[in-house]
């Protein structure tokens, strides 16, 4: 809450890109060397600022993909009509500078003492802050049971696929592919709705904690279905990004 957050000036600073990792055809993870990084919480984001030669400034928010204690990383999806993301995914190279400020946000965050069981629901690149939570859970040795339900258009659009194929003990990863499924696909082949959540979600009686991140339509549909199934609204944390947003 506001009163307990640390009071620290949020200043723009220049980070250096230390690595660029290809996640999918349109998604890159940028690992950043940030000289003055105070540490972050799982689920937080940072702001990126690009300034062109004419002084035009564009700012976007990106979720932090790495766990607290790991080097800062963001995962960026290229939006074809984007002002910022094509530069981040296509132009930036290791060794380049990038202006940022953060970490930001105290709502969509998870700490081991928050408990669970955890229900993580991702639509597309909404998986990014949830991956930070998963990695943090593993680093801290938390035994909280986790189900990640991850909706993607196709298998090739799944971000962190290799990592998610080998989940930590106590973590179940369930995929839903909405547009195209490979031959022999045994997972879900439809959009996440109340019926699908009924099969996958922890029963409300277990007092689960849900984190929902994705496009607005996904977050609205999923969070409403969870509340209707008995999840208390305050146990359903949401983070929406618009069609043109970063976070």
């Amino acid at each position: 809450m506001a009163g307990t957050a640390l009071r620290r000036r949020l200043i723009w600073q220049v980070a250096k890109v230390s690595a660029v990792t290809t996640e999918t055809a349109s998604v890159r993870t940028l690992t950043l060397d940030v000289p003055d990084w105070p540490g972050h919480q799982a689920g937080q984001h940072l702001d990126i600022r690009l300034t062109d030669e004419d002084g035009y400034v564009a700012e976007r928010s990106y979720s932090i993909a790495s766990a607290p204690g790991e080097p800062v990383a963001i995962t960026v999806e290229r939006l074809e009509d984007g002002e910022v993301s094509p530069y981040l995914t296509d132009e930036l190279r290791a060794g380049d500078d990038l202006e940022l400020r953060g970490p930001i946000g105290g709502y969509f965050t998870w700490e081991p003492e928050d408990g669970g069981p955890l229900l993580l629901l991702a639509g597309g690149s909404g998986v990014v802050p949830l991956r930070s939570i998963l990695r943090y859970r593993e680093r801290t040795g938390s035994a909280v049971p986790v189900r990640l339900l991850y909706s993607s258009r196709t298998l090739d659009d799944v971000i962190y696929r290799a990592e998610l194929d080998q989940p930590a003990r106590g973590v179940e990863v369930i995929h839903a592919l909405t547009r195209h499924q490979p031959p022999g696909w045994a997972g879900y082949a439809r959009r996440v709705d109340a019926a699908l959540l009924g099969e996958v979600a922890w029963p409300a009686a277990e007092m689960p904690l849900a984190y929902v991140c994705g496009p607005t339509s996904f977050v609205e549909a999923v969070s409403q279905a969870l509340v209707q199934s008995g999840y208390p609204p305050e146990r359903v944390k949401t983070e929406r990004f618009g069609a043109t947003g970063g976070t």
Binding site: A2, Y107, R240, G245
Partner: protein
């Protein structure tokens, strides 16, 4: 234009209030809907940044930068904090 949510203005709010605000409680001055800042509807390019109630669509907060000076309007809120 599609709304994002209050998480997207966490940085802006730190600029204005000097502290993390996405978890702060709000109550709409029009309909009384209560939820954290993170749950509000945010329009980033309005021009300026406009924050609306998810229930009744009232404007709760507005942030506009004019000649390097940020103007903040919180009149739509009954409670913030």
């Amino acid at each position: 234009m599609e709304a994002v949510d209050g998480n997207a203005i966490g940085g802006l709010l730190v600029e204005v209030f000097g502290t993390e605000m996405t978890g702060a409680a709000t109550v709409c001055g029009n309909c009384g809907d209560a939820r954290p800042v993170a749950g509000l509807a945010v329009y980033l390019r309005a021009p300026g940044t406009i924050v609306r109630c998810r229930t009744c669509d009232s404007v709760l907060m507005a942030f506009v930068t004019v000649r390097d000076r940020m103007c903040v309007d919180l009149l739509g809120l009954a409670v913030l904090g």
